[in-house]
Symmetry: D2
Subunit: 356 residues, 4 copies
Amino acid sequence: MPEPRVLRAAVVGAGYWGPNLARNFAASERWELAAVCDLDAARAARVARASGGADVETSLDALLARDDVDAVAIATPARTHHAIAMAALRAGKHVVVEKPLAADAASADEMIAEARERGLVLMTDHTYCYTPAVLKIRELIEAGELGEILYVDSVRINLGLVQPDVDVFWDLAPHDLSIIDFVLPGGLRPRSVAAHGGDPLGAGKACVGYLFLPLAGGAVVNVHVNWLSPTKIRRIAIGGSRRTLVWDDLNPQQRLSVYDRGVDLDQVGAVPADDRRAATVSYRLGDTWSPALPEREALGQMVAELASAIHEGRAPLTDGRAGRRVLGVLEAASASLAAGGALVAPEQDRELEITA
Amino acid sequence: MPEPRVLRAAVVGAGYWGPNLARNFAASERWELAAVCDLDAARAARVARASGGADVETSLDALLARDDVDAVAIATPARTHHAIAMAALRAGKHVVVEKPLAADAASADEMIAEARERGLVLMTDHTYCYTPAVLKIRELIEAGELGEILYVDSVRINLGLVQPDVDVFWDLAPHDLSIIDFVLPGGLRPRSVAAHGGDPLGAGKACVGYLFLPLAGGAVVNVHVNWLSPTKIRRIAIGGSRRTLVWDDLNPQQRLSVYDRGVDLDQVGAVPADDRRAATVSYRLGDTWSPALPEREALGQMVAELASAIHEGRAPLTDGRAGRRVLGVLEAASASLAAGGALVAPEQDRELEITA
Amino acid sequence: MPEPRVLRAAVVGAGYWGPNLARNFAASERWELAAVCDLDAARAARVARASGGADVETSLDALLARDDVDAVAIATPARTHHAIAMAALRAGKHVVVEKPLAADAASADEMIAEARERGLVLMTDHTYCYTPAVLKIRELIEAGELGEILYVDSVRINLGLVQPDVDVFWDLAPHDLSIIDFVLPGGLRPRSVAAHGGDPLGAGKACVGYLFLPLAGGAVVNVHVNWLSPTKIRRIAIGGSRRTLVWDDLNPQQRLSVYDRGVDLDQVGAVPADDRRAATVSYRLGDTWSPALPEREALGQMVAELASAIHEGRAPLTDGRAGRRVLGVLEAASASLAAGGALVAPEQDRELEITA
Amino acid sequence: MPEPRVLRAAVVGAGYWGPNLARNFAASERWELAAVCDLDAARAARVARASGGADVETSLDALLARDDVDAVAIATPARTHHAIAMAALRAGKHVVVEKPLAADAASADEMIAEARERGLVLMTDHTYCYTPAVLKIRELIEAGELGEILYVDSVRINLGLVQPDVDVFWDLAPHDLSIIDFVLPGGLRPRSVAAHGGDPLGAGKACVGYLFLPLAGGAVVNVHVNWLSPTKIRRIAIGGSRRTLVWDDLNPQQRLSVYDRGVDLDQVGAVPADDRRAATVSYRLGDTWSPALPEREALGQMVAELASAIHEGRAPLTDGRAGRRVLGVLEAASASLAAGGALVAPEQDRELEITA
């Protein structure tokens, strides 16, 4: 098999996240960093220099006109993602977009359709999905180690700055939702979403929030996000019919624990479904196991996956539709919040209708 | 001040909880254990003997006819609480009832009214409220150490037996609700209750549950209960405008932590209320403090409080109305669950209407 | 196989530990509690009654003259162990002695010899060895799961009462030493012992102590005991050539952790022994595993083991010689302490000389 | 007060630690980075560029001949520290040396004498001492918050690479010793040192080690270092007569805990010293307190302290003699190890004799 050609990337936006993208493209064997583009030339130049040298562009049009750029990584404010991504796709570039994929699901649908029509890769930079822990969770679930998923309970709380433009759901929950979308077989497709928020400081937006997402089949997902907690918790528990997994991101000595404990489903399964309610439920107390995890930077894995997707002509692990599903849940959450916590079904993505 | 007279208690029900009550009445300087009453004479005799000796009664009527019994402690199944308590009150006995106070809020209202009319003490045995940690939390909040309460987040999860008669809300949440009721000034009086549950095993009842309770003034309470978790968590965080308290019941070396961190409310307060949304919010990072706690058995404190309430002719710390408020929330939770998670206002207790 | 005869035990000493022994003999299917013996008849009667009824004896001679007593459990002050045990053995009784086995190693040697000559069981009640965690550690080491033992590091610290008669080594280290003796194949037989102590309060005895015990073959054992620590730690790490085990007795959710990490010994072994110093050492980062442990009372296991040893005519797992080895290390530690921390070889037990 | 002149630093050695020093000098308001010096010009150039630009020197003589360099930071292998530092001092430069200060205490004595004679600052880069946690520990002890120091117990264990040139004492213990030296009033001046080591792999050097250091006045210091531990612990407990402090460097949410628990010394003090052994000792169980710590890079604090020391003409907090004391303990440890763990008194530093 011939060595795949080294691809050339341009980073658009030299603010907070752009330098990280630039550094990882520059460090990857699969990529060359062709250019850094920002209206502020000095800022772009600093990022280009710190990444070992790349062209500086201040015009998006000029950048997209270059034929030596294979992919564009967009790290600009969310409201500009759609316009820049559409322009890049129309110029024939593959595109990876910092999360959130777009300001709203409708914009995301257009981006997905555009990429699809042009045969280009559209990727969402759900960075957390490429950490060794989350990749391992996905692998374990895919291999059936947890059995059928029964519940997911995610907590992401800390003392955070009250954001001027978004509430705590849009600020923090995208991390949880993108991870859950990544590890659940088939992605996160809740039947509906209920959101409850608290604004006890009178900040004009929810600072404490709870999302409840019933899935088809009876499993439930809950996400608790909080800007007002002096303690920091980053914990996702995934209960399965065979085993339960807990990810504690703040415990570097044991990030993942897999508990071989729970209800003995075989026994429940042994009785006819309609008698199940009467069945005596027994519990199993088995060992705990914590898999070793490699030390690898997530963003390096992300840019490698982008290269592989382009070379293999396939959707990346976190494609546009994954970003779209997360947006769909967040929009449903906002609608639920406005409706006093009522269950709101997320609008399906257009692509799904097309392919279904 | 004369030494208060030693009171005489009878325990009704010699099953799971009765022996604990009997032992604590027997061990208290304020009490004598007069009798243990159970239909099963052998069982009653065992409990009486293990408590150092007391009369055995197998007839409730006979017990209540005795004039050497001041108070009756009821530790029978919940559905019998109302009938036994009403009989005891009518016989002029003070009454303490194992939680839940009654099978439903209407029964509780009758019990409260009966005790009120007769000038007798009606107490709910919310044992957890008398642990050193919870007493300290109440004291700190009362003293203003936390400031205004902003949120309460309670988690009570473990591998629990699926109960035949109740769901996870009725099994586990009474602990959280009674504690929160005890420590919040004025008790737990949510404007409404939303309950979301999951039954991923098809057990016929919720095994995973979330309660959301908005309070007047913008604070929010959340309770997460779960029978399917292989890890055990007993944690209540109470966020305040001045400080935040975390109770971790499974960390005996540091059960309570008080964090002097959070939003600088003075600054928020300095701007007019309608500009608050625009105010720049700043954060304060102060010390953490963990108060020393005495080692004392909660149930011993409970029976002492019952004695004090009787002697002083006042309501005990966990009176009938506290038990009634918890029942009210649980009933609203069940109603919300049946209504797909819609917010349901708990019915006010009758007493409140009378006194208001 | 016929059901083994139920044995009859007498407990001598109704103070702190005697009631626990009495309760466990009474609860065991293998035993009947025949008598409780104490100079204080009332105290003995209380213990007998709480254990469901047994004879009360106030004379040791009378007790030992009874032919319906198979075994005597001695829970009197340490300085009396030798005399009582010798009398019991001479009366043909099997004997189990609360730790320490005797006040000094010479006395222990006599007790061992006496039991040996008479074909009776002499057991040391090293209770901790019968906890599920320690039994599992022994089993894992015996099965070779840890490989060759490289080091043992034991920490037992807390705020403890300064004892009037013993220093911190004799108060706390017997726990660690008896456990280490139990799990190491062949028992704890250090080449020598170095002890360093601190008496920063001027209490007249060491309140902070460190034991260092080099074993044959290059492994080392260290024990840290401390009465002055406000934090409580009970932790033993056992490093092996294949895996390392950590026992954290204060973490009920994960008492045992087995780490599949360490130096890759195969590689070291691949080079000739004299080149080993030059070998490049590589590290292996594998999974962590925490075995499930049953919930069982240690003392119940101990009395069952005593019954089995008597029936099978074999030495119990914690026999007199195990108690003797612990005493030998403690005596060497005291000698080292007196010699400014010099390495002192423990005197071998007489039995060893006889059998060798 | 006039703004102190900005000083100019040169970094000698562009290997592992040099780039960190260069970056911090470049980032400090008190310093300019004048030059980076290394025999490997390309390596020096990389470090100079990454620090925002500085001259590159490949000759130490040429560097020291420059009159625009105030201070030289030495980050070369330990065996070269003496020669480079002596040359720099003779050239009139202030000097800071990466730990260890020199290869042996005698060399360190010469460096200290040279700096003293020339009125120049000689500093040891004990970086850890400038972390917020260690600075706070020093401050608390200095303010008397812990009372009289009774014991120090330090544990620094993890899976570490077996070093080719040094044993585990020289590799890891300098961190503990420099910290303890920094926080103890008057520095770490043990009466003697006992070292016990284990080499269970046959690596030709101790891989597991224990240091015991009795101090004047009865306090004791113990340091446990281990290259073979799969778990990582970085913990120092400092027991005082008033309070005890525990530093857990791997718990970012609560690095420092101050326990107001321990023996009630007032009571012990109330009895005459010779009766103290008979005194009944009582224990006090008070609160725990965890001071907030700022987030600041230690090396930035270190270079600021160097600037202040130069400007104020005083010894820096971690001066040459601090480095010398640590070397003295390590040399005594090696001597003790060679003598089978016997207590060895560290040779006093020459300076002490001169000044005493």
